[in-house]
Symmetry: C2
């Protein structure tokens, strides 16, 4: 494989320059972090599962006309995506209270919300991704009024679609986070869903048992994260075709 | 069971007065009709399957905040629903060309449409449910401009959710039809999804094999309709708990 230029290494992924201008390669690492990277570990196979699952959700969204950055999966750990200008917001959609919302507002985890609530956090690890309002977003120019409308409608469409997927396999979509990017078609800008959609970025609870099938398993030490993500992949029929247990490559040299 | 007043008998269902004012009981018959009832048959078990499946989809829609008439399932063939004033339109959402759209516009069945297309047909069996435009709808006062906006957004939300459900179980949602009803909360009117959502009102193709799992099996004599609907129910985990084959009640007297 030709040597590619690394553009960015984040907590869960590495970005490389893609083969065509305007494309990048997303490499999914096995690194797991939580609480703004205060808790860290390497979870064998996580990257492969998230790569496959993000492909599954993003290609499904493309199919129904919700534009995403996803172009195609390249191999077990990498996917080709459209490069975009990431809007520095974590867009969170919540159907049930959990996590920081439960803590901040004193609502028991699992309480159904009166309607889906969309929250925005300013994406800045050094600040701990603080919650912001549309006032902040407008005042600091992170997104225009039109952008905000488009982001809201993208977020709600992703929620409807993901809720359907999850319901069909006996999972409750408690909440999820997406990132949105700008792409330019000539003079026009459009917004697309970027980054990843995976059990790292969703809260997924088994409808019957309440069992957590998402990153909270790692955050709260509830067992094997790979087992949880594998269960999601299994229910969706998303499994590495070559379904031997995912192990580290053997170093040869 | 107390004797209930029959309100209406249609091609696939019977409506009875419900226990509370503003409610009705929908009884799902085994009758199958096609081509405006020129083709007819009784398909043992169809009513039970459609009752269960319509419950599954409608209660999922209620969950995600798409309002529907569904209140609760009463038994294998009946569900309690909120009575509404049905808008006399069949609202059709198409993701792939099929059926009458393919015939009318000369597009091969299975061709993916550039985006979901919403069509309206005037619900009148004696006219064969003719396609109408928003001009007709406005001119004849079947729905106001605001109604039309609400209908469009309901239809697209149902499409996103149903597309997710179907994708998760390996089924392509080709198209579907819904009916919309008006309910009054004091002085306010709201629109809700009514009638049924079932393989009678959707086109469902297996993603891998293209096998039809919907009423086209009956329309086109492609095999057992009950087997097709049972397969949809099985994939969704929607099966009569008492899963013995559904047979006619034995008449005792
Ligand atoms: N299509 C894209 N174009 C450009 N940047 C992207 C795209 N998709 C995701 N990104 C960015 O790539 C990085 C993904 O790596 P990740 O390990 O998640 O980083 P972080 O630790 O910053 O969250 C994120 O900063 C994300 O905003
Ligand atoms: N919630 C509701 N309130 C009142 N009428 C309803 C409701 N849901 C469905 N309907 C009507 O009940 C009838 C259902 O029976 P069906 O056998 O499908 O009739 P049809 O042969 O007219 O299509 C339809 O006419 C439909 O418009
Ligand atoms: Mg990230
Ligand atoms: Mg009908």
């Amino acid at each position: 494989m030709a040597r590619r230029k690394k553009i960015y290494e984040g907590k869960a992924k590495v970005l490389y320059e893609g083969p065509e201008p305007g494309t990048i390669v997303q490499y999914f690492k096995d690194d797991a972090t939580a609480f703004n990277a205060q808790k860290k570990d390497v979870i064998e196979g996580k990257g492969v599962l998230n790569n496959m699952l993000s492909e599954y959700f993003m290609s499904g969204l493309n199919q129904i006309g919700v534009p995403t950055h996803f172009i195609k999966r390249l191999n077990m750990r990498e996917q080709l995506v459209r490069q975009c200008e990431i809007i520095p917001l974590e867009v969170i959609v919540r159907n049930y209270a959990a996590g920081t919302m439960s803590k901040r507002l004193g609502i028991d985890e699992g309480t159904q919300l009166p309607r889906p609530i969309v929250e925005y956090c300013y994406k800045d690890d050094s600040l701990g991704d603080p919650l912001v309002t549309e006032e902040h977003i407008a005042a600091f120019g992170w997104a225009s009024q039109q952008d905000m409308e488009d982001i809201l409608s993208l977020a709600l469409r992703v929620n409807d679609f993901m809720s359907g997927i999850m319901m069909a396999v006996g999972i409750r979509l408690v909440d999820f986070k997406i990132e949105i990017g700008r792409v330019f078609d000539g003079d026009f800008q459009r917004l697309i869903v970027a980054d990843e959609i995976s059990p790292d970025s969703c809260r997924l609870w088994d409808i019957e048992t309440g069992q957590k099938l998402d990153k909270d398993v790692f955050r709260r030490d509830l067992g094997s994260l790979t087992d949880a993500y594998t269960e999601v992949a299994r229910r969706l029929g998303v499994m590495p075709k070559n379904s031997t247990p995912v192990t580290k490559p053997t170093l040869i040299n």
